[in-house]
Each structure stands twice: as C-alpha cells, then as structure tokens.
Amino acid sequence: MPGQSFLQRLAGQIGLYAAVACYVAFALLPIYWTIKISVTPPDLLYSEGIRLWPSRMTLANYASVLEATDFPRYFLNSILVSVATAAIVTAVASFAGYALSRFRFRGKAMVSLVLLLTQTFPLVMVIPPIYRIMGQIGLTDSLYGLIIIYTAFNIAFATFLMQSFFDGVPKDLEEAAMIDGCTRLMALRSVILPLTLPGMGATVAFVFTAAWSELLFGLMLINSESQKTFSVGLLTFIGKFAVDWGQMMAASVLALIPVCLFFLFLQRYLVTGLTAGAVKG
C-alpha cells in the first residue's frame, strides 16, 4: 500500500503469515494428534508422557483394525449411505433450488419459510418421534432408513445452497437458449447445468461430509453389526473398563481417507469462475 514504510510492510506480512500459521495449526492439530496416537505402540501410550512423536512407531493398530474387526464392513456401509444421500439430496435440491430461483409461484415465500423452520429444531428433540415412525415402517436397523433420514435433514440447507448458485447464473442465458431452440429442460441441461457444476460439487461435498460423520441417528437406529456405519463402529473401541485408543485412532485415520479422496476429486468442480465472461462483468 502506498504511504507505508518498508518496516510497516514487513510487519504486516509477518503478522499475516503468523495469523495464517496459527489458524492452520489450530485446524490440523487434532488430525495430527490422531495420526500420532494411531502409530504409537500401546505400551508407550501412557509411559512416555506428552510427546510430539513417539520414540517407536508401529502399524499394528492398523493391521488389527483391518483384520480383526468389522471395520471394512462399516466403511462400506458409510460409503453407501453417504454417497446415496449426497446423490439424492443434490438431485432434489437442484430442482427445488432452480424452481425457487427462477419461478414465481403462489406460496413461494411460505415454502422458503418452512424449509428454514426445519433447520431450527434441535435434532435431539425429533429423535423419539422419528424412532417411532421408522420402527413402524420397519426401517430401523437399516441403511435405507439412514439414507432417508439424512436426506430429509440435509435437503433444506442444500436447497438454499443450490438456489444461490442458480441465482448466480444470469437469466439471460437460459432465455437466449430458449430462443435458440431449447425447451426449458433442455436449456437447464445444456446451459445452466454445466455452469452450476461448481455449486453442485460444493453441495455434494457438504452433504457427503455431513452424512459421513453423522453419529446421533446412526447410534439410535442401528443395532446389528452388519448395518453399522463407521462413526457408530468407532464406539465399539470404548469397552466397559478401557478404551483402545490406538485402534480407535487408526480407524479414525482410515475414515479420513475416503473423505480426502472425495474432496480431491471434487476440487476442480469447487473452483468457481466458470461463469466469467458470460455477460459483461
């Protein structure tokens, strides 16, 4: 900035990087600690005191999680539930968001209000009625039940998210497409959809993560081993008298891997700026 001396600028730069470093350390420390414990041999866990890295490393925790427990099963269940939820929510929210963004209809404000209201209930409050309903239609202890619940709870926010992305695409574009020979649905598919892919990517990522890390409903609705998701499965490491920290952390690290891969894959859709140049900006 003009009017600043070299020292002022230097101090500004140092301050900026120090703040960013603090933020990154704050965000990553729990993950680091999880990894650290997962590779610490059980005999060193309590004997070495607080250290940044153990004096010996082991992968035994990973081996026993993968071989001796049901975790591979839990993973598959979690992936199934999360992918299905993300797909259904994004599809429905896209259509709903498009309608809210583009159409004028009676009761539109009411629909938005009701969607918003659903977000204000504490989850704990709705667990008993939902448990009863799911029990009567036979969807407790079932992955389908979880998918339905997760979809229901994510759809409102995802709809608002998609609406804001559709709002960002100029109306002129689909009008141009409709004059060029598209029906509304064709214009949506060949013009609007490619431009809202970043938004859909963000929505998919948001819903996937929410479903992947959900514990409360998983815990309430699932009983049998074969239907457990990984977040519920993690609790099996908490025994009556002891917690197997090493294995629990190893399982947690493994659980992070699909999420990381998923975000890596979605990253290019999350980069916005695709609409630049559509209209005079």
């Binding site: 002129d172 574009l173 009008e175 409709m178 004059i179 060029d180 020979g181 695709l274 559509a278 005079k280």
Partner: protein, 351 residues
Amino acid sequence: MASVSLRNVHKTFGPIMVLKSIDLDIADGEFVVLVGPSGCGKSTLLRSIAGLETINGGEIRIGEREVNHVAPKDRDIAMVFQSYALYPHMDVRRNMAFSLNLRKSPAAMISERVGAASQKLGLGSLLERLPKQLSGGQRQRVAMGRAIVRNPKVFLFDEPLSNLDAKLRATMRTEIKALHQQLKTTAIYVTHDQVEAMTMANRIVVMNDGVIQQVGAPLELYDRPANIFVAGFIGSPTMNFFDAVIEKTSARLADGSLLALPALSTGTEGQEVVIGVRPEHLHFASAGIPAKVAVVEPLGMSTQVTLDAVQERVTLLTLERPVLAPGDARHLAAKTSDVHVFDRASGLRVS
C-alpha cells in the same frame, strides 16, 4: 423474413400495467426502433414478441401466424441481449452453432453458415476462443453472429450496444445498419438512446409509460413531433420550451415578449400553449426574446450557447463562432416555420 403485427397488446406485472393497448404494424424487412426512457415498457414489448413474457391481452402475429401461445423456440426469431448472454462454457464456434445443432441441421450446412457469419463479422480467428477471452466488442459480434446463422424471420435487439464504449458503439451502430441493409431481415431494436434510434431506424416508435406516443420516420418525428414528450425526447440537445398564450398570429411569452407563430388552423385566441424551438433553430437577432449569456461551449464544428431567457435555461446551437462572454445581453429569434406549438393541457401538437 416476415412482418410483425401487434393488436391491442396488454401486459401487467401484478397491479402495474406496463403495456397499454399497443397497436403496431411492422412491415417485412423493416428496421424499427422502439425508444423511450427506462421503464416505458419497450423491453417488455420486445420480450413479449420474443415469447419470453406472456401478454395478458391482445394478439401478436409474426408473418401470418398468431404466436400468442407459441414457445420462444418455435417463433423463428433471434435475439441479441444487452448482456450478450453468450454461453460461457462454449467456444465461439459452438456458441454460434448452438441453435443449428439443436435443430439437427446437417454438419456441412452448420460449418458453412458459421463460416459465412464469422467472416462477415470478422470473427474468423476467434472461433476457438471462450467468451471470457474476448473483448466487449468481440462478444457483441459473437452475439450478432449467433443471431444471423439462424437466418430467422425476425431479429430482436435488446439495447445491444449500451455496454460498449462510445467509440465502439458508433462503429457497431454502422455495422448493424449495414448488416440489415444486406440481410433485409425484419428487425426490432430497443434502445433508450435517441441517437441510435435516429441513425438506425426506418421507423421509430416512441414509447412512454406503456403507451406508444408516436410512430414515424426519424426525420418526421424530428420535424413534426406529435406531442411535448416526443418533442423533448427526440433531438439532442433537447428542444427549448416556453409557456405562452396565443395572441393573434403570435405567442405572448411569460416575460411579455412576442414570438411569431406559423399559421395555425386549430389554435384559438388566448389558448394556453407550450412553444418549442430546437437549439439549432434559435438565432441571435436585433429584436426578439431578450436573453443573457450564461455558458459558451465550443464543440469545434458548432458552438453551444446556454442562455437565461424568460425564467428558463435556453440552449442555442450555431455553426458560427460567435464572440460572447457570460453576462452578455442578446435577443433570440426563430423562423416561424421552425416554431412548434403544443397545447399546454393535453400536450398535443397544435398545427
């Protein structure tokens, strides 16, 4: 190519009536400009013709066909938007070919049409670029190209030049007019810029408040405006207006000075009127309306003088280079044939 006719077209947005009983006939091959201040309904009218708005009453015909309930894609029209509305994820070629691809036209015909249009518009070297890699003027050309490859019955333009800078706007204005003379496709062009309207149109439709004020050739509107609104809207700098009362063959202005009027068949003695004189029709004289020079603006080719006369700011445009200083006292006069008379109550022309 087709004619367009509008019969008693109405359109409301909620309680607001934005188009009030619009009647208009546009001949095959004509270039018609809809002009008016913002909010006058000109864009809504164009969008109604395109089928992007549903009208609440009346009839729109393109050619022989009534299109009230025909979808935009089936009206055989092409439209150029103010924002250009280029598809950002398609390169120039695909943008231009989009409509032909949708119609499943043969590939040979598509490449021939796109080639011809891009050559006509000087876009040949830009076909592989994305819209965001183009300048404003180039985007404008692509939007035009997308319209002409269609070979539509009617071109619709919605303020296509208002996002360009002044110089480019003048160039594109000429190009669009040349293109129309070549293609001879019926064109309807919306603008708020009366210079664009005057220079491009075969006929101008002046709108205000959802109502057509006057339809006519540019010079006809300029020389014989039907009411005060048209008189004030067409022409730059704006026409000078004075309140006056008719006295025999003259008008008595508020300061008591007299201005000779053209022969009026409908004016009556004592009628309250508004006198209009265009800036270039006012000249300095030894007698006439007393005025005091306020500002002198040399424009090179002409000189614009702003004066205070009869409690009004008056503009005078002259091709000469008068030697004047602020505060100088002068007299203004105009030929009787250059004086426009409007009824003060109705705003309509008195002739």
